[in-house]
Symmetry: C2
Subunit: 332 residues, 2 copies
DNA sequence: TTGAAAGCGCTAACAT
DNA sequence: ATGTTAGCGCTTTCAA
């Protein structure tokens, strides 16, 4: 059996409190410190975080709920958050809810039972009643990518509308009038924001909205390819296109190659996310990129702040981050 | 404060043991069952898994250590494993160690302190001494994708050598003699296995190995593109190529487009993993695919079996899974 | 079937 | 600085 502090106490002849104090960075006489360290070494003692958690009512675990681990945007953020939390001693319990609201709610329950100290969630559902459980329990909740009405918590968002508008304005600025868009599913909030950005840009330029110029894809590679095909079929004169997520960007590029359309000669192109792919493409793609590292950084920062007494009472924050634009050779 | 079983006991007038028994599926008189359920409902009682874990010495948590969450092969497996474990009541603690052996060891420590019941690991290092800690503690360890000498535990592997040999043989079977390969880094064990598969196939066909025909990439998109370029430069007569991971497959395809090489007319092509990308490509790519779902299934199955008393003593297993070949239009 | 009591390994008051 | 003690919320003998 693994050694406990009792064993250390016995071995050293010291009291439990002294050992505990040592373990938690308290003051211990030099000579005792040495004794304790020897005993720890000898007995291979390791703190039992479970017992500690029971006592302190802190598990040093953070729950993370995401729609799809299998999605580069999510994965990049999670990787970073997990890393940072771990370096602060927090373990990360990840639940992938497959973009399913029911599963999402189950995951919230699951994590609550496990008494995680806080919850980070990229919500699939537009409802978030079940999050109140955490909030009532005084446990911090940080939302990523999407705000939920009526839930009092911190949020880290991206300016999706601005990003899309900016991208489209670049195309308009290059003289294009027939600018197409491959949009995402209506149910996805951020997809709608990007669509609105497109509309705004066209509106501001005084170009009446032509619904033929917008095709919705399902955020997959194949969906992007299909949408591209449809877009070209409907709009023979379209001279530029904006694609609004990574997977569809890849699909669209594949379809463009298939159709033998030359970028940027025949078609100017702005894609989304994944710098690597953009750089590796021929010609290099101009893309909108979301600041995944910054998102992750802000999320952990907020979470850690709330977890410390000091931060708990401060007013909730909503951070809205700017996207970047990576210039390639795909717009002319 | 959250309700405890004491509160339930008080409310119902029953003893702690009865409540506990109810909670754990024991026999409770119908009439008491109802009383308990009412009390639970009323007080919003939820079992504290931490306390339970302290008592039972089981945390119902499984640690997972992977080299890179940001890698589609890992992400697919993890998603599936997490899902299955959760449906069996196990939480998953994921640690991404960035393909760094030092970080990997830290993660093992971290998870051990947290008293996870078992460990699933896709090892970065070739050494695994630190895993013995788990094994000594009687906690099951399951290795994915890579075996480690001297570590007594279950393994779920993929027949990488066979997969590569098979792919290359298909190219040879189609009449190609100058078959190139984009291989992975030497340090990566599975990359070497794939390289050996290539060598075997060539050898068996009686074709002397030409080192010009093998270029190593670093498993990234850009690395794949660069390797492809180099391969073509070195071997103007090469008529077929085998690329040995997903990211490099994508890069190679991009470069092929750039160079204006026509697949399969000028170059036959077999890639690796990611069916979606293969399907979306033009022409559809023939690829080797790893059975991520099956890997995940076997891993969870092994883990769950070991976690039950019954399975703990059985002899350790090494499962070697076959890859599949998805026929596209890229070989002729 | 149910209750009483002990104890998992730790922390935190409190006393010294 | 250190020891004593109680108790976190649960499970698990043992008796009844």
């Amino acid at each position: 059996m693994a050694a406990t502090i009792k064993d250390i106490a016995k071995k050293t002849g010291l009291g439990l409190a002294t050992i505990s104090s040592y373990l938690n960075g308290g003051n211990v006489r030099e000579q005792n410190r040495i004794k304790i360290e020897e005993a720890i070494e000898e007995l291979h003692f390791e703190v039992n975080e479970v017992a500690r958690g029971l006592k302190t009512n802190k598990t040093k675990m953070i729950g993370i709920i995401i729609p799809e681990l299998n999605n580069i945007f999510c994965a990049e953020i999670i990787t970073e958050v997990e890393d940072q939390l771990r370096s602060h001693g927090y373990a990360t319990l990840i639940c992938d809810c497959r973009t399913d609201e029911r599963r999402e709610e189950e995951a919230v329950e699951f994590l609550f039972h496990r008494r995680v100290d806080g919850l980070i969630i990229m919500p699939s559902g537009k409802q978030g009643k079940y999050l109140n459980k955490f909030i009532r329990a005084g446990k911090p909740v940080v939302l990523i990518d999407r705000k939920i009405k009526g839930i009092e918590c911190d949020c880290v968002l991206v300016d999706n509308e601005g990003a899309a508008r900016d991208a489209v304005e670049r195309l308009l600025g290059a003289g294009h009038r027939e600018v197409g868009m491959i949009a995402g599913p209506e149910e996805i909030y951020t997809a709608e924001e990007r669509y609105h950005g497109y509309c705004k840009a066209m509106e501001n330029a005084g170009i009446p909205l032509d619904e033929n110029l917008v095709v919705r894809g399902d955020y997959t590679i194949e969906g992007g390819a299909a949408a591209m095909k449809e877009l070209v079929r409907r709009n023979p004169d379209m001279s530029a296109v904006f694609v609004s997520n990574y997977e569809m960007t890849m699909g669209a590029i594949i379809e463009v190659n298939e159709l033998g359309i030359e970028i940027p000669g025949q078609l100017s192109f702005i894609g989304f996310d994944n710098v690597e792919f953009a750089k590796a493409s021929i010609p290099k793609l101009s893309i909108v990129t979301q600041p995944t590292e910054e998102i992750a950084g802000r999320v952990t920062e907020l979470m850690l702040r709330r977890l410390e007494k000091a931060g708990a009472e401060e007013e909730k924050e909503t951070v809205k981050l700017k996207t970047s634009f990576v210039e390639g050779k795909s717009v002319v």
